[in-house]
Symmetry: C2
Amino acid sequence: MLNINQKKIQLLDCTLRDGGYYTNWDFDENLVEQYFKTINNLPVEFIEIGYRSKPQQKYEGAFFYLPQYLLEFCKKQSSKKLVIILNEKEFSPDDVEEVLKPCAGMVYMVRLAVAPHRLKNALKIAEAVKKMGFLISLNLMYASKWKEDLYTSADLKNFQGILDYFYVVDSYGGMLPSEVTMTFNKLKESLSVDLGFHGHNNIEMALINSLTAMEAGASIIDATVCGMGRGAGNLKTELLLSLLHRKYKVPVDFDILNELVEEFLKLKEEHKWGTNLPYMLSGAFSLPQNTVLGRVKKRFFSLNSIVKEVSEETTPPPENCHFPVFTPVKQYQKALVVGGGNTPQEFSGAVREYLKHNPKICIIHSSSRNVNSFLDLPNHQFHCLSGKEILRLEKTLSPENYDKRFFLISSETGETIPADFSSKYKQFTKVLKKGHFQKKYELSTTAMAMDIADSLDVQEIMFTGYDGYAGQVTREQLELFEENQEIFDDAEEHGLTIFSLTPTMYKLSSKSIFSIL
Amino acid sequence: MLNINQKKIQLLDCTLRDGGYYTNWDFDENLVEQYFKTINNLPVEFIEIGYRSKPQQKYEGAFFYLPQYLLEFCKKQSSKKLVIILNEKEFSPDDVEEVLKPCAGMVYMVRLAVAPHRLKNALKIAEAVKKMGFLISLNLMYASKWKEDLYTSADLKNFQGILDYFYVVDSYGGMLPSEVTMTFNKLKESLSVDLGFHGHNNIEMALINSLTAMEAGASIIDATVCGMGRGAGNLKTELLLSLLHRKYKVPVDFDILNELVEEFLKLKEEHKWGTNLPYMLSGAFSLPQNTVLGRVKKRFFSLNSIVKEVSEETTPPPENCHFPVFTPVKQYQKALVVGGGNTPQEFSGAVREYLKHNPKICIIHSSSRNVNSFLDLPNHQFHCLSGKEILRLEKTLSPENYDKRFFLISSETGETIPADFSSKYKQFTKVLKKGHFQKKYELSTTAMAMDIADSLDVQEIMFTGYDGYAGQVTREQLELFEENQEIFDDAEEHGLTIFSLTPTMYKLSSKSIFSIL
C-alpha cells in the first residue's frame, strides 16, 4: 500500500493476464520466474496472473486456464497478493464454485470483466465469488461509452456492499482526462466502494488518465510491463513507477525493473503491441480494436471509409446501395477467380493462353493485385470492390479505356466506395445482393467472388492466386487463410465444383493449368 | 488555419528538422517527396524543413544546412509555408544576414531555438531576422525547468512587439498538463504574442500537453510524423490529427497519412526512436536525454545511481569521497590494461602465460567483463569501479577470497558505489584523485585506467580487450570507440609508451603477445 498525498494507493500488475492476448497466454517459464522475482521487489500490491476459463473451441495457453499446478507455482514464486479474472459472460452463478475451487488459499482477489448491459448476471456471480471468501472486484468495461443512466441504475447500485473494488475499464483506450474525472465524480455519488482504473494506451492517455483517476478518487491502478496488453496495450508499469517515484518518492529499484523491461522488449519486437494509427482511431472513436485492426490489416479497408462510417451521427443507408443492383447474365460456363497471390504472375503465360483460347470464361478478381495481368484479354471481368483494393484498382484502370468487358461489383454492406471513385465509375458499378457466402463471411472478397460466380450459375469455379502463405505468417494472414479454407469447404458442401489451376496450400482440389491447355 | 472552438489553431510539422537527429539530417529523396505530397494534403499550416547552420566539425546532412538548391526543391514540392530554425547559440546578430539570404522568398518563418539564459543575445538576432522580412518565432527551451523570475524579466518582456510567435519547448518531455496550464497562464500575463507548444514524449504527455496548451491559449502546435524526433521523440502528427478530427471534425485524409506513416515506421525500425525507461526517467526528472542515455547505453551506469544522484534535494559531497584516497605504490615496470572485448578470452592462454611469468606486471581492469580470466594469477590487479561494472564485478568476487592482490578503485565524481557493495568491500576500496585523463574524459573507465597506470609511473602500458567493434555498431559504441581513440592519441602525446598485445581496430601501436612470450 503506497501512501500518496495522504491517500492510500495500490498498484496491480496484470502483465500475464492482459499481455496474454499477444501470446495465447503462454509465457516462457524463465521469463515468468524473472517477472515474479522482479515484481516481488517493486511497490506493487497485486499481481493478476490470468483467467480461469471454461474449455474453448480454440487453443489458449496456460495463463488462460490457470490449472492447479500453475496456481501453486505462482503462489510459490510470488510474495504479492495474487488475482485472477473471469470473463463474466462465460459463466453462470452456478459455475462459480467449480471454477474457483482450485484458487482457494492461492488467490486473494477475483475480478469480473463485465459489459454494462450484463450487470444483472454479474451481480449473482459476484455474490457467489464473495461467498467463497475472495475479495471481489467488478471491472466494468467500455467506460468511454457508458450512458448517463448507468450511474443511477439499480443494476449498479445493487452492487453496494458486495464489491471490494469497482474498476473503470477504458477498453477502447479512448478516454480523455476530463472524462475520467467526470466518470469518477459520478461514480462516487452512486457507489461507496474503492474505485480502480484500468487504462489502455491507444491515444497515449493511459498514464495521464491513471494519474487523473488517482486524483479523482481511484485507490487502485492497473499497469503492465512495457504496456503489454490487448490491442494498443496498457499503462506501462515502468512509466507509472517512474512518475510515482518522481512525484511521490515511491521507492523503486529501477535496475531490476529495467532488466525485466529489456526481456519484455524482446517479446515486443516479436509481437509488436503498442499503438498505431488504426489503434489511435479506434481509441478516438471508441471502436473495438479488433474491428478496426481486422478491417485494416486483414481486409485492407481504407481508414477514411472506417472513420466516415463511425463519424456519422445518424446511420444513413449504406451509400453503396445507391448503385443499381447487379443482375447476373447467365452466359458463362466457367469462371476463374483470381486472388492476390503470386501464381497469377508466375503462371501468367499459361493462364493467359488458356483464357485467350476460352474467351467465354469469365474472370472474377477477388483482389486488385493481379488485374494488370489480364486487362487486355477479351474475357469478361468482374472486379470485387473492397477496401484498399479500390484504390489499387483505380491506379490500374482509367475511365477512358473502361469498356463493356468490365463489371465493378460493390458490396451491400462492405466498405463505402469513395466518392471520387464512384463518380468516375458510376455507370459501371453495381451492388451485389448478399448471397449464401457473403451472408456467412460478411467482409470477405472471396465470399463476394463466390456469390458472383454462384449467381452466374457457372458449372466450374477455377482458382488461381490462392497460394496460401509461405514462411512467417502474420496473425491476420493466418485468419484470412482459415477463413478462405472455410469458404472452400462450404462451397463444396454447397455443391459447387471448385478447383485450383495453380499450386495452392489450401485443401482444395487441383487441376494443373498445363493439363488443360 | 483551423477553427477550433472559435479559436484559430495552426499546426506545424517539423519531422525533417526534429527527426533529423536520428539520420544526421539526411533523408531519402523519395521519402521527402512523399512527405511533402502528404503534408500538402493535410490540415497543416507550416512545414519546418530543417536548420541553417555554420559549418560543423562533424558530418551533418542536407537538412542541417539547407543549401540553396534544397531550399528551392522544398519550395517547389510544398504548398505550405516553409519554416527553418536557427540554433541561437551558434550565431551572432551579424551572422543573420548571410545565413538567411538564401531563404528570401522561400522561407516564411524563422524560428530561434534559445536557452533561457541566452535571451539577451537572442533578442538581437530576432530583431535582425525580423528586419529581413521573415516571421520570427522564439522557441524557448527547457520549459520544465523555467524559473519563476523568467516571466517578469526584462529579457523576456523586451521581445514584446518583435515576435510573431513565442513557443514553450518541453525539451525534456517532462511537463505535466497542470504545469503546461500554469506556464501558459503566466506567459499570457507577461507577453502579448501568439503562443506555441513543442512537446516531447518521454512520459507520454506530448498529446495531452498539446491539447492542454491549446485550451490554455496556444495557437500553434508542433508535431512530427510517427513522433520522429530527438531522444524519445515528439507529439505524433497522426495522433494529433486523429484527436482533432474526432473532437473538432478537422478534415483529415487518413489513408494518405497512413501511407506516409508506414514509410516512417520503416525508418523507426532502423533508428528506434521513442520512449523507454531511461528516457522516461530523463523526462520525469527533466534531465538532458543524452546525459541519461549516454550513461546507461554507453557507460552501463545503473539507473538507480542516476536517479539517486538527481533525486537529492541538496548536493552532498559525492559519497565515493568517503573512501580513503588511493596512494599509488610505484613498484610496477609495466601494466596490462584489460578492456571489455573478446581478445582477453580468445588469447587467454598466451596472455595468462605471459602474466604468470611476469608477476610484477600489474593488471588494470577497465571493464569487469574479463576479470574472471585472471583472478587466480599472482599479479596485482586494479579494478576500475564504474556503473554496472560494479554489479558485474560483485557476481565474480566474494569478500572471503578477496586478498591483497586486489585493489578496488572508485572515481571521485563517477557513479556512486552502491551501499551494498561498499559495505562489503569498504576496506579494499580507494578513491582515485582525478589525473590528466579523467579530467578530460570524466566518465571513461579507460581514462581511469590510464590515470592509475600514470600514477603508478609504469614504463609501458599494454592493452588487451580493446578490439574495436566489428559489424553493425550502435551510436553509443561508435562514440565510445572515438573517445577511446582520443585517449590513446592523448596518451602518446602525453609521452606514455602504449601498445596492444592482441588484435585491435584502434590506431594504436601493436606488439604481438606471441612475440614477447
